[in-house]
């Protein structure tokens, strides 16, 4: 999974520039939306378990809040950069806009590797992060959420620190909290299910019965797991998944032509989504190189790991039978790969539409937390389906009527809504 020499922010800006041109945005609006509104970069000193003090680098980037309070996750990743966070914050703005939730976009991160941190050390990072930005975040300003290698426990530590600082109870400060502690039912499933809700609609448009389709999936974390579950529930067959192997520090693909058994695989998977390859082999899975997921003879590819995975160099290896790519991850496809995919006539459900289920459900959690009244899971997932389906239909309708690629159509809808909000507020 290559990440070298790739700048996500440049890619995000290039995508934006293309859409700004399509929309004919004026110069000041372009200038405003190309850059984040605010950025915070700070140090988080933590006393480690061995007594030493280690200083971690933390970020919070608020790209745009014209449509409502900022919303975005917090990533713990050793390769975190401010540019990655900027790009992800911008994508959050578009994502909230494309599914029409009244929120802006933000992202945060800490350069660290939780694999090598004790729970206490992680807690100190969480609390330190909040202490640094407590004045600039909150239920009416910026609402964080879990992201890469952060989870409900991290959110609870952050909430606790925020409430200590503010001297009150603010369950709407953060989302992704544990159920029963202000979390929303359905949040765990939301992103993966959201991917499949949009995929289901795409297959209907392409007149492909889901029961006749096969899929190959990159990643075996939360998004993939729930995407696989719902896709299989609808009748589809997943024949390949790939995941990161922490021990070997490389990725592998796990293939089974008869279809993977999700529950069995989950039984041999660690908490970071790494599948035990020895056990998998015993269960009859072929263990292939990390990139092999891309080359499988399937109808659907679902990249659900990290950014920059389908690139100009490997896109030609996508199997000729692939009809749909549903981007579960953020920014998995580079612009040059996009051109290859477009030439091949593959239907793309762009990342900030396909994986918007997470933020949509986070928004639901925020609403519930602010009311301190919580909904049943049926209601959460029912609303999620409607939101995702409605967003997909708007995008596909525009793509069809203006003969645009799906990604461009999604951007046109999202950017124009944000630009309009900036105009309406008199900012530009």
């Amino acid at each position: 999974m290559a990440t070298k020499a790739f700048n996500s922010f440049e890619m995000a800006q290039a995508q934006f520039d293309k859409v700004a041109l399509l929309l004919g945005l004026d110069e000041s609006t372009r200038e405003l939306l190309r850059q984040p509104l605010r950025e915070y970069s700070f140090a988080i000193p933590v006393r480690m378990d061995d007594g030493r003090v280690k200083v971690f680098r933390g970020f919070r980037v608020q790209h745009n809040d014209a449509r409502g309070p900022c919303k975005g996750g917090i990533r713990f990743h050793p390769a975190e950069t401010i540019d990655t966070v900027r790009a992800l914050a911008m994508w959050m703005t578009w994502k909230c806009s494309v599914v029409e939730i009244p929120l802006g976009g933000a992202k945060g991160g800490v350069i660290c590797d939780p694999h090598h941190l004790s729970p206490r050390e992680q807690e100190q990072i969480c609390r330190g992060w909040v202490r640094q930005v407590a004045k600039n975040v909150g239920p009416v300003m910026d609402v964080p959420a879990p992201d890469v290698m952060t989870n409900a426990q991290h959110m609870l530590w952050m909430l606790d620190e925020f409430e200590v600082i503010q001297g009150g109870k603010y369950p709407g400060f953060i989302t992704g909290k544990p159920v029963g502690m202000g979390g929303s039912l359905g949040r765990t499933e939301a992103t993966g299910f959201g991917v499949i809700f949009t995929l289901r609609e795409a297959l209907r448009e392409l007149k492909l019965p889901v029961e006749s389709t096969k899929a190959s999936i990159q990643g075996f974390g939360n998004v993939s797991q729930y995407a696989i579950r719902l896709y299989q529930q609808l009748g589809g067959k997943v024949v390949c998944v790939s995941c990161w192997d922490q021990t070997d520090q490389t990725a592998y693909s796990f293939k089974k032509d008869a279809g993977i058994d999700l529950d069995t695989l989950l039984g041999i998977t660690d908490s970071f989504g790494g599948i035990d390859k020895t056990e998998a082999k015993k269960l009859g899975y072929q263990i292939l190189p990390g990139d092999a997921w891309l080359e499988q003879p399937v109808d659907i590819l679902i990249p659900s790991a990290i950014e920059n995975q389908i690139r100009g160099d490997n896109a030609p290896r996508i199997h000729a039978g692939v009809r749909v790519i549903a981007e579960g991850a953020n920014g998995p496809t580079t612009p040059d790969a996009d051109r290859v995919i477009q030439d091949r006539g593959i239907f793309v459900i762009p990342d900030f539409l396909a994986n918007a289920g997470g933020v949509t459900c986070s928004y639901f959690e925020q609403v519930q937390s602010n009311m301190n009244y919580f909904w049943e899971k049926d209601e959460v997932l029912g609303k999620l389906d409607l939101k995702m389906t409605s967003a997909f239909l708007s995008v596909s309708e525009l793509a069809r009527s203006r003969k645009l690629p799906m990604r461009d159509a999604a951007y046109v809808i999202a950017v124009s809504r944000v630009a309009q909000a900036c105009h309406d507020r008199g900012w530009v």
């Binding site: 499933e189 289901r200 719902l230 529930q233 609808l234 009748g235 049926d378 209601e379 997932l381 389906d385």
Partner: protein, 582 residues
């Protein structure tokens, strides 16, 4: 075989306004009820509707949840073992309510609740409901919801609760008992769910049809000039629950719609006709009880119906000065529901339509049929008759002949000129009867409990029995008889209803358990205490007591009884073991 959900158009999230009146959600079978409605729809397409321009006939819009959704719900929430256990109905129903719906269903269901704001009937449509031999008709739950809340979230929640309610009813004690009696494995059962628009009109806080009814092409109790093949129709004001539950309804022969029951004096009709009706509660929210079938139903009286203006087609008026019934509601006075405006005064040609429909469906099905319908008649437009259910009837064919003289047989334990069923049965040695001396209508609920106990004991011992009681078996009104459910008497081999001076009501003629009686081949006997023939109480009371409570007694005969019913003449006998042949 029921149709498959994939054979129907997929639900398109534009249920009401799409013009597509039927659709499916999820895969698998659609179940018996939905299958029947599909068949009805096909037949209606060929039906000559031009002959009846004043009434539009159609199957009300519905979407059906396929049985795969039911399976996915049970499996994802690991509900099967609890469902099949002997846990109480409310325990099972509550567990179903707590469990989330399958994720691939909720969006469509939410869209449905968002787009429709009129009452919905959420009805069972199971695989076994399709079986002609032992149809599970009336065994499973139906829930009506007003669906008129302002916010779609509440409408969705209520719809989801109703779907889970129907799913849970698959595993009710009644269903389990029925399955045992029918020799079916409930584990094989799969439940489709129909979500159907309720036929009716809103009148203030109530929503209900002007007329609901059940029309059968074969009449087991022809009287007067009517012949069995003329059929029979039951009509009621409001929702069909009145008829299904065995409440008071108007029964007539479609060949003789103007013939009134021989009730004298006419004033008695006031007591013997429908006085209350069921409606969907569109007003103030009731107490929250998702486990109750009647959560959103209410009962109203004729005064309410008069206020609503819904007596126009259904009522006549009793004139106390002349001691006669004046047809229609032009005159002032106490109202009674005899449906004279449509049956006698031809205000709406309902009966000709029903006759044509019965004939058309009977011909198409190649057997006698039963049609459940509801009619809404707005004052300013054509009336609408909605098909709610269509199913074949099994009519007995064996030739048993009993003459009037046969009923004088000295060995008769029960002799009746009003029976249902056809054939001969032997091998029954147990009789459970309600005691004459201690009977009082105020104790009928306690009697139901005692009967249930006897039924359980005898069923567990594999001993079928003859059940004798006063008033209507299975009525929902405890003042009209013993309010048992079918599961409480499912082990009975023959059912006898009798009157007493203290319980002198019109007997049910098996209406409450009509399908159970037919499908299990259980003969039914109606015995009036006024009739020349009756029940040999003295002999019954002389038998040694096997078991007794303050209200009922179980006795055992020294040798098997013989039960004979002549389905053509309606005569029937239960004969003592030592009696000669009749």
């Amino acid at each position: 075989m029921t149709a498959n959900a994939h054979d129907l158009p997929r639900f398109g999230r534009h249920f009401a306004g799409s013009g597509e009146s039927i659709s499916s959600l999820g895969g698998g079978a659609i179940g018996g009820k939905a299958h029947g409605l599909l068949e009805a729809r096909r037949l209606l397409a060929r039906f000559d509707a031009k002959r009846h321009p004043r009434i539009r006939v159609a199957v009300p819009s519905f979407t059906v949840l396929g049985t795969e959704v039911f399976d996915a719900f049970l499996d994802a929430n690991q509900l099967r073992s609890l469902a099949l256990s002997d846990a109480g109905d409310r325990v099972i129903a509550a567990a179903f309510q707590r469990a989330p719906l399958p994720a691939d269903l909720v969006g469509d269901l939410f869209a449905l609740a968002r787009d429709i704001k009129t009452p919905l009937a959420v009805r069972s449509s199971s695989l076994l409901e399709d079986a002609l031999a032992h149809p599970f008709a009336g065994v499973y739950g139906t829930k009506m919801i007003p669906n008129n809340q302002l916010d779609p979230e509440t409408r969705f929640r209520k719809l989801a609760e109703a779907v889970k309610f129907v799913w849970a009813s698959t595993f009710s004690l009644a269903a389990k008992s029925y399955a045992r009696a029918a020799g079916r494995e409930l584990a094989e059962e799969k439940m489709g769910v129909l979500v159907q628009e309720v036929v009716g009109l809103r009148r203030g806080p109530r929503f209900y049809p002007d007329i609901s009814g059940v029309a059968r092409s074969y009449n087991f109790y022809p009287s007067g000039h009517a012949r069995p093949q003329d059929g029979v129709v039951n009509l009621a004001l409001g929702l069909g629950k009145t008829i299904v539950d065995g409440g008071r309804s108007w029964t007539y022969s479609p060949a003789w719609p103007g013939v009134r029951p021989p009730v004298a004096p006419p004033q008695r009709l006031l007591d013997e006709t429908q006085r209350e009706f069921w409606a969907v509660n569109m007003g103030s929210p009731p107490a929250y009880d998702p486990l109750a079938e009647t959560e959103y139903l209410l009962q109203a009286g004729l005064a309410d119906a008069e206020t609503d203006g819904s007596l126009r087609l259904t009522a006549s008026t009793f004139d106390p000065r002349s001691d006669r019934i004046v047809l229609g509601t032009a005159a002032a006075g106490p109202r009674l529901l005899d449906f004279a405006p449509v049956l006698v005064m031809d205000e709406l040609p309902l009966n000709p339509l029903l006759r044509d429909l019965l004939a058309a469906f009977e011909e198409a099905a190649g057997t006698d049929v039963e049609i459940e319908f509801a009619l809404a008649a707005p004052g300013n437009g054509p009336a609408f008759l909605g098909f709610l259910q269509v199913r074949p009837m099994s009519v007995p064919s064996a030739q048993i002949e009993l003459s009037a003289a046969d009923l004088d047989h000295p060995g008769a334990v029960v002799a009746s000129e009003g029976t249902m069923g056809n054939g001969c049965w032997e091998g029954v040695t147990d009789i459970v009867f309600v005691k004459r001396g201690s009977f009082d209508a105020k104790h009928t609920r306690a009697i139901a409990k005692d009967v249930e106990g006897a039924n359980t004991r005898l069923s567990n011992a594999g001993r079928p029995y003859v059940l004798i009681g006063f008033g209507r078996w299975g009525t929902s009104d405890p003042w009209l008889g013993v309010p048992v459910t079918w599961s409480q008497i499912a082990g009975a081999r023959a059912l006898v209803e009798s009157t007493l001076p203290a319980m002198d009501v019109q007997l049910s003629q098996g209406a409450h358990f009509f399908h159970n009686l037919l499908s299990f081949g259980v003969p039914y006997f109606a015995v009036s205490h006024h009739a020349a023939h009756g029940i040999a109480w003295d002999w019954l009371e002389s038998l040694p007591v096997e078991f007794e409570t303050p209200f009922i007694r179980q006795v055992r005969t020294p040798a098997p009884l013989r039960i004979k019913v002549d389905g053509r003449s309606g005569r029937g006998l239960v004969l003592r073991p030592e009696a000669g042949s009749a």
